[in-house]
C-alpha cells in the first residue's frame, strides 16, 4: 500500500519520458480516424479530430503536473510569508491579514478562481494567475496557527532574548518546525490544484485548444459520449489514477512525518 502512490507516479513519469523519446504528436489531425476505439496504432483510440488519445493524455499529464507544481510553489511562498508575519507580529498586522484571508475564505470552492479567470480571460498565464491569487489562503491560516503556538516556545523566546532579528527567528526557528506540516498540506493541495485546473479548462476558462488539457478533453469527451464513450472514460480514469496517487502519497507522507492534520475543509 505504501508503494502504490510512488509506483503510479513512476509509471506516469516513465510513460511521459518514453512518449517524449518517441516524439509523439498530440496535435496531429487525422480526419480518416475520427473517434476510433483503441486499436494497435492508437492504443487508447482517437478523439473527434482523429488525434491520438494516448499522446494527448501524456501531454495533458505534463501540463496538469506542471501547473500544479508552479501554483503550489508560488502559493506556498506567499501563504507562508503572510502566515509567518501574522503569527510573529500579531496585533494589528495579524488582524488585517486575517480579515483578508476571511474574505477570501468567504468564496466557496472554485468560485473566486472562476471569477478571476472569467475577468482575466482564458489562457495558461491567466489560469496560473487566477489559481495563485486564490490558493495561498489555506497555507496562510495553517502557518499562522502554528506560528502563534511556536511564538511562546522556550527556544523562540531565547532566540528573541539573545537579540535575533525577526527575520532570523521566522526563518531559522519557525520554518524548520513547520516544514513537515507544510509538506503534507502542499501534497494534498497539489491534487486540488490539478482538479481546479481541470475544472477551469472544463468550463473553457483555462488552457485553450489545441493544447491538451485534461479538463478540456473531458468536456469534449462528454460531448461525444453517446458515440464514443471510451473517450471520456479513458481521460477520466487517467486523471483519477493521478489524483489517487497524489492523495495517497499525502497520506503516506503524513504518517511518515507524523503530522496530525487539522480539518481545514
Amino acid at each position: 500500500m505504501k508503494y502504490l502512490p510512488v509506483g503510479i507516479l513512476l509509471c506516469w513519469l516513465l510513460a511521459v519520458l518514453i512518449g517524449r523519446g518517441l516524439g509523439l504528436t498530440p496535435n496531429q489531425i487525422d480526419l480518416n480516424a475520427l473517434l476510433q476505439l483503441p486499436t494497435t496504432s492508437h492504443w487508447l483510440g482517437t478523439d473527434e479530430l482523429g488525434r491520438d488519445l494516448l499522446s494527448r493524455v501524456l501531454h495533458g499529464v505534463e501540463l496538469s503536473f506542471g501547473v500544479a507544481l508552479v501554483v503550489t510553489v508560488i502559493t506556498l511562498t506567499i501563504g507562508v510569508a503572510i502566515g509567518l508575519l501574522a503569527g510573529f507580529y500579531g496585533g494589528q498586522l495579524d488582524f488585517i491579514l486575517m480579515q483578508m484571508t476571511s474574505v477570501f475564505m468567504a468564496f466557496p470552492g472554485l468560485l473566486l478562481a472562476i471569477a478571476f479567470a472569467a475577468v482575466l480571460g482564458a489562457g495558461l498565464n491567466n489560469l496560473l494567475l487566477a489559481l495563485c491569487l486564490t490558493g495561498w489562503v489555506s497555507y496562510a491560516r495553517l502557518t499562522r496557527a502554528q506560528a502563534l503556538s511556536l511564538r511562546h516556545r522556550p527556544h523562540v523566546l531565547a532566540a528573541i532574548a539573545l537579540g535575533a532579528s525577526p527575520y532570523r527567528v521566522m526563518v531559522k526557528h519557525f520554518l524548520p518546525m513547520l516544514l513537515s506540516v507544510l509538506v503534507v498540506e502542499a501534497t494534498y493541495s497539489m491534487a486540488s490544484v490539478m482538479i481546479a485546473e481541470a475544472s477551469l479548462s472544463f468550463l473553457g476558462l483555462g488552457i485553450q485548444a489545441p493544447q491538451a488539457s485534461w479538463g478540456a478533453m473531458l468536456r469534449d469527451g462528454a460531448r461525444f459520449m453517446l458515440v464514443a464513450p471510451h473517450y471520456v472514460l479513458v481521460v477520466g480514469a487517467c486523471m483519477m489514477s493521478l489524483m489517487l496517487a497524489v492523495n495517497l502519497g499525502g497520506d503516506v507522507l503524513r504518517d511518515a512525518l507524523d503530522v496530525r492534520r487539522e480539518n481545514t475543509e
Binding site: A106, F107, A191, V232, M240, N247
Partner: protein
C-alpha cells in the same frame, strides 16, 4: 456576540469590495471587451455611462453599495432583464439540488461511517475507507458523465439531462451527493471512534446495553454533533460546487447562470452571481455556527 456580528459585517463588506473590484480587473477597457471591436462609439458611451465606468472609482463604489442596499443588482447586458429577477428565477433550482444532494450524502455517509467505526481496522472498515478515497478522488466532471453514461445511456433508467422530468434531479444530485458522502463517511468514522473511548460509553456497555443500543442511543447523538459543522460547510460549497455539475446536466441553477454569463461576457451578471453565491455561503456558515451553539449542551449558556 457583538464581536461576531462585527466580524460577519466586515467579511460581507470585504466580499462586496472584492466583487466590485472584479470588473476593474478586466485587462484593457471593459467596455471594449463586452461589446467587441465592431461596436459604435455611441454604443460604447451608452454602456460606459450605464455601468458608471466614466465616474471616479469612489463614486462608482458608493453607487454600487447604494444600489446593493436597495436589493438592486443592475441589468443583464445579454438579455436586458433585471439581474435580481434572473437570480431569483434560478436560485430555487440550485437550492433544491443542494438539499437533495445533502440528503443523499447523509444517507450514504453516516451509516457507512458508523459501520467503519464499528469494525475499525477490520475488513469492512478497510473496504469502506478505500472506496471513500476513490470516490473523493473523482471530480464532478468525471463522475457526472460516468453516471450519465451508465444510468441514462446504457440502462436508460433516468433522463440524460435538463430539468423537464422530476427524475432529472437524480443524476446531478447523485454526482454531488456521492462526493459529499465520501467526506461524511470519514468524518463520521473519526467522530464515532472518538466517542467510543469516552467514559459514558464504558458505563453504557457495563450496564449491559447491547452493542446496537450503545451505538444508537449513546454514541450517535454525541458523534453527530461535530458533523453539523461539516454539513454546514458542505451545504455552502454545494451551492457553489454545483457550477460544474449544473453545467454538465443542464440544470438551470445559479451555477449555470454564472457560466453562461461568462460565456456571453455579461460581466455585471457574473459579478452578481459571484456575490450572491459568496454571501449565501457566509450566511449558511454563520447559521451553522449558531445552530451548533444552540444544540451542543456544553456551549449553551457560556460565551
Amino acid at each position: 456576540m457583538l464581536e461576531r456580528v462585527l466580524g460577519l459585517f466586515s467579511v460581507v463588506v470585504g466580499v462586496v469590495m472584492l466583487t466590485f473590484a472584479l470588473i476593474h480587473m478586466i485587462p484593457g477597457d471593459p467596455v471594449d471587451v463586452m461589446l467587441g471591436e465592431s461596436a459604435t462609439l455611441a454604443d460604447r458611451d451608452a454602456l460606459r455611462s450605464q455601468l458608471g465606468l466614466n465616474q471616479s472609482l469612489t463614486t462608482q463604489f458608493v453607487q454600487y453599495i447604494q444600489l446593493l442596499s436597495q436589493g438592486e443588482l443592475g441589468q443583464s447586458l445579454s438579455n436586458h432583464r433585471p439581474i435580481a429577477a434572473l437570480i431569483l428565477q434560478t436560485y430555487p433550482a440550485t437550492l433544491q439540488l443542494a438539499c437533495v444532494a445533502l440528503g443523499i450524502g447523509l444517507m450514504i455517509g453516516v451509516p457507512l461511517g458508523v459501520l467503519a467505526a464499528l469494525y475499525a481496522r477490520q475488513w469492512p472498515d478497510v473496504v469502506i475507507m478505500l472506496l471513500s478515497v476513490r470516490i473523493a478522488a473523482m471530480p464532478a466532471f468525471w463522475l457526472g458523465p460516468v453516471l450519465m453514461l451508465v444510468f441514462a445511456v446504457w440502462l436508460g433508467w433516468l433522463p440524460v439531462s435538463g430539468m423537464t422530468q422530476s427524475a432529472s434531479i437524480v443524476l446531478p444530485a447523485l454526482t454531488l451527493g456521492l462526493g459529499l458522502s465520501a467526506i461524511l463517511t470519514r468524518m463520521t468514522r473519526t467522530s464515532v471512534l472518538e466517542v467510543f473511548s469516552e467514559d459514558y460509553m464504558r458505563t453504557a456497555r457495563a450496564k449491559g446495553l447491547s452493542q446496537w443500543q450503545c451505538v444508537l442511543t449513546h454514541a450517535l447523538p454525541a458523534a453527530l454533533l461535530p458533523l453539523i459543522t461539516v454539513v454546514g460547510l458542505q451545504m455552502g460549497s454545494l451551492l457553489a460546487g454545483a457550477v460544474i455539475t449544473e453545467t454538465i446536466f443542464s440544470w438551470n441553477g445559479i451555477g449555470k447562470l454564472l457560466v453562461e454569463s461568462i460565456e456571453k461576457r455579461d460581466y455585471p451578471l457574473t459579478q452578481a452571481c459571484v456575490l450572491v453565491i459568496a454571501i449565501s455561503y457566509v450566511m449558511v456558515n454563520q447559521m451553522t455556527d449558531v445552530l451548533y451553539r444552540v444544540i451542543d449542551p456544553r456551549t449553551r449558556g457560556g460565551a
